[in-house]
Amino acid sequence: MADVISYREAVAEGIAREMRRDPSVVCLGEDIGAAGGVFKTTAGLHKEFGSERVWDTPISEQAIVGAAMGAAMTGMRPVAEIMFSDFLACCWDYLANEIPKVRYMTGGQVTVPLVVRTANGGGLGFGAQHSQATENWALTVPGLKIAAPATPADVIGMMAAAIRSDDPVVFFEHKGLLATKGAPPPPDHVVELGRAAVVREGADVTLVALASMVPVALTASERLAEDGIGVEVVDLRSLVPLDTATVLASLGRTSRLVTVEENPYQGGWGATLVSVVADEGFGLLDAPVRRVAGECVPLPFADVLEEQVIPTVDKVVAAVRNLAAY
C-alpha cells in the first residue's frame, strides 16, 4: 500500500476491507457501482465484488434505506449510500421512525446492523441544498449511532467499527476532507465508536471539534501557540456514543472549553456537550464555555458568504483568545 492514502480512498478501502472479511456486507446506493460514486468514495468496489454485492439503485432514497433495513433484519450487513447528507431528509422516516425504533418497540427481537454513509458539510460552494452539516439531525433521534471521522486512518478504523456494529450507524464523510491525505492504517485497524482522540495537547483551553472542524481547530491552535496559548484539541470522532469522559478529563487539565461545530448553533451537538459539562463538570471550569458554530441561516453559495456563516480559523482564534483572557 502507498505511503499515504486520501480520505476519499480511505472510504472505499474501509468498505473493501470489511467486504473481504464478511460476505454478508453489501453496498447499495445511487451511482456507487461501475461509476465508483459521485465522490469516487466507492471506486473499485464494483470491480472487486460485482453487481450482486455493490448494487446500483435508482434515485429512490426511501427504497435505498428501507431496503437496507429489510436486508439488515434478515442476515445482511448493508452499507447504504445517501449521496449528499441533505438528501437524508428524503428518507427521514427511515432514519427517525423505522431503523432506530424497531429494536426497542419489538422488545429486542429485531436487530438492524446497517450503515448509512453520506457526504456531509460545506466549504465547496454547492449551495444551500448540497452543503449542510446535518449530523445534528441524526443526534436528535435515540437509537442511531453517529460517526464523523476527520482523518483517513479514522475513516478506515471507524468504517470497520460501524459495519461490524450490530446497531445502525449513520456515517458522515465530510466533503471538505475528501482530498486530504494521511498514513494508511495497518490491516484490521478498528477505531471503536465512542472514543474521542486528544489530537493536540495543551494546558490552557480545550477545543472540541468534529470532522472538518478538526483541521480548523488544529490550525487555530498553531496560531494561538504563537501567542503563548496552549490549546488541547479533542476530536470527538463520534456523537453517539458521545465520549464525555475524555472531554471532562481534558477540562480537568485546562478548565476552559470551546466547541467548534459546523452545524447551526441552534440544536447543535455542542449544546448537548456543554449541558453535560454544566451538569457534571461545572466545578472544573474557570471561565464560561463558548460555542463557535454555524449561523442559523441556509448555506449561501458564494465563498465570501459561506465564510460568514460557517466556523473559520479566524473565528476560532478569536473565541479562544477571548476565553483565555477571561
Binding site: 448494487w55 429512490s60 427511515y94 424497531v102 429486542g108 427481537q109 436487530t111 437509537g143 469522559a245
Partner: protein, 325 residues
C-alpha cells in the same frame, strides 16, 4: 384444498375474529389503552396468504396487523397481553397494538407509518436472493399506502432486480376516513399501478380464503422461480371503523350491509358445508376458538405489568440504552 386444511383455516379465522372482538371489549373496559385498528373482516387475506407461504418466509405488516401476527404464529394470549401492557406481551409491552412482531417466525413487524414497510420487504427479498435461500418476502398494506412515495420506490426497485417479494394490498375501500376512490387517479389503487412497473397486478376476493390461498400460491411460485415480484389487490371491508375512535358513520348503510353479508367466515363456512363437512365439526372449531380466546383474556389479565426498568433496555444491540461513554 382439502377439507381438513379448509377447516383449519376456518378455525384460524374464527380465532382471529374472536381475538379482535376481545380486544374491542377490553378497550371498552379500559384494559387496552392507546388505540387499536381492528382487522375484523380482513381475516381471509392474512390466513389465506399465510397458508400459501413457507414457514420461513418474511412477513411485514401494518398498524392494522393483529391478523397477520396471528396468522404467522403469534398466539391470542401474546397479542392480547401486548395490547393490555403486560410483561408477557409479544413485545414485552414496548410495541402495542400497532407494532406486533414475532421475529421467531419471521413475522418482522407491523409498522405504523403508512407504507414504510414496503421497501423493507424489498430488502428482505434482496437478502434472501443473495443468500440463495428461496425465501419470499410479503408486504401486506392498505389501499391508502398506494399513494405514498415508498410504495412506488419499492415496486420499481423490486421489479428492476426481479426480487422474490409479493405486495398484497388489502383494499377495504377507505383510506382511514376517506373513500380511496375519491383520492386516487385510478379505480384499482394497487392493481392498476402494476403495469407501470412491468409486474403482474391481480385482483382477488379478499374475503374468500380459498381464492386468496390459490392466488398467493401461484404468485409465490412465480416469484420463487426468479420471475420477480407481483402486486395483489385483495378486496375486503372493515367491520369496525378505522380505529377505536371512529364509528365509521361516513359509510353508506347499504354498502355496510352488503359487505357484512359477504363475511369471510360465512364464505368459508359455506364452502365447508358444500364440501360435506358435518355442522358439528364446524361447531367444534368455533368452540375451540372461543375457549382459547377466553383463556387468553384471563391469562393476559392476570399477567404482571412490565418491570419499569424495561424502559431503558433494547435501544442498542447490547441490550442497553447508554448514549455516552
Amino acid at each position: 384444498m382439502d377439507t381438513g386444511e379448509l377447516l383449519a383455516l376456518y378455525e384460524q379465522m374464527v380465532l382471529i375474529r374472536r381475538t379482535e372482538k376481545a380486544a374491542h371489549d377490553l378497550f371498552l373496559q379500559g384494559l387496552v389503552k392507546g388505540t387499536t385498528h381492528l382487522a375484523a373482516g380482513h381475516e381471509a387475506i392474512a390466513v389465506g396468504a399465510s397458508a400459501a407461504l413457507r414457514d420461513d418466509d418474511y412477513v411485514f405488516a401494518t398498524y392494522r396487523g393483529h391478523h397477520h401476527a396471528m396468522a404467522r404464529g403469534a398466539t391470542p394470549e401474546e397479542c392480547l397481553a401486548e395490547l393490555m401492557s403486560r410483561a408477557t406481551g409479544l413485545c414485552g409491552a414496548k410495541g402495542g397494538s400497532m407494532h406486533l412482531t414475532k421475529a421467531a417466525t419471521n413475522m418482522l413487524g407491523s409498522y405504523a407509518i403508512v407504507g414504510a414497510h414496503l421497501p423493507m420487504a424489498v430488502g428482505a427479498a434482496w437478502s434472501a436472493k443473495l443468500r440463495g435461500t428461496g425465501q419470499l418476502a410479503v408486504a401486506f398494506f392498505g389501499d391508502g399506502a398506494t399513494n405514498i412515495g415508498a410504495f412506488h420506490e419499492a415496486l420499481n426497485l423490486a421489479a428492476v432486480w426481479k426480487l422474490p417479494v409479493l405486495f398484497v394490498c388489502e383494499n377495504n375501500l377507505y383510506m382511514e376516513y376517506t373513500p380511496i376512490a375519491d383520492v386516487t387517479a385510478v379505480p384499482r389503487p394497487a392493481a392498476d399501478r402494476a403495469p407501470a412497473y412491468g409486474i403482474p397486478g391481480e385482483v382477488v376476493d379478499g374475503n374468500d380464503v380459498v381464492s386468496v390461498q390459490e392466488t398467493v400460491a401461484r404468485l409465490a411460485r412465480r416469484a420463487r422461480a426468479g420471475d420477480g415480484p407481483a402486486l395483489l389487490e385483495a378486496e375486503t371491508y372493515r367491520h369496525f371503523g378505522h380505529s377505536r375512535t371512529d364509528p365509521a358513520t361516513y359509510r353508506p348503510a347499504e354498502e355496510v350491509e352488503r359487505w357484512l353479508k359477504h363475511d369471510p367466515l360465512d364464505i368459508a363456512r359455506g364452502r365447508l358445508v358444500e364440501a360435506g363437512v358435518p355442522e358439528e365439526r364446524v361447531a367444534e372449531a368455533d368452540e375451540r376458538a372461543r375457549t382459547v380466546v377466553q383463556e387468553a383474556v384471563e391469562a393476559a389479565k392476570n399477567a404482571p405489568p412490565p418491570d419499569p426498568r424495561e424502559a431503558f433496555t433494547d435501544v442498542w444491540a447490547d441490550g442497553g440504552a447508554a448514549w455516552r461513554t
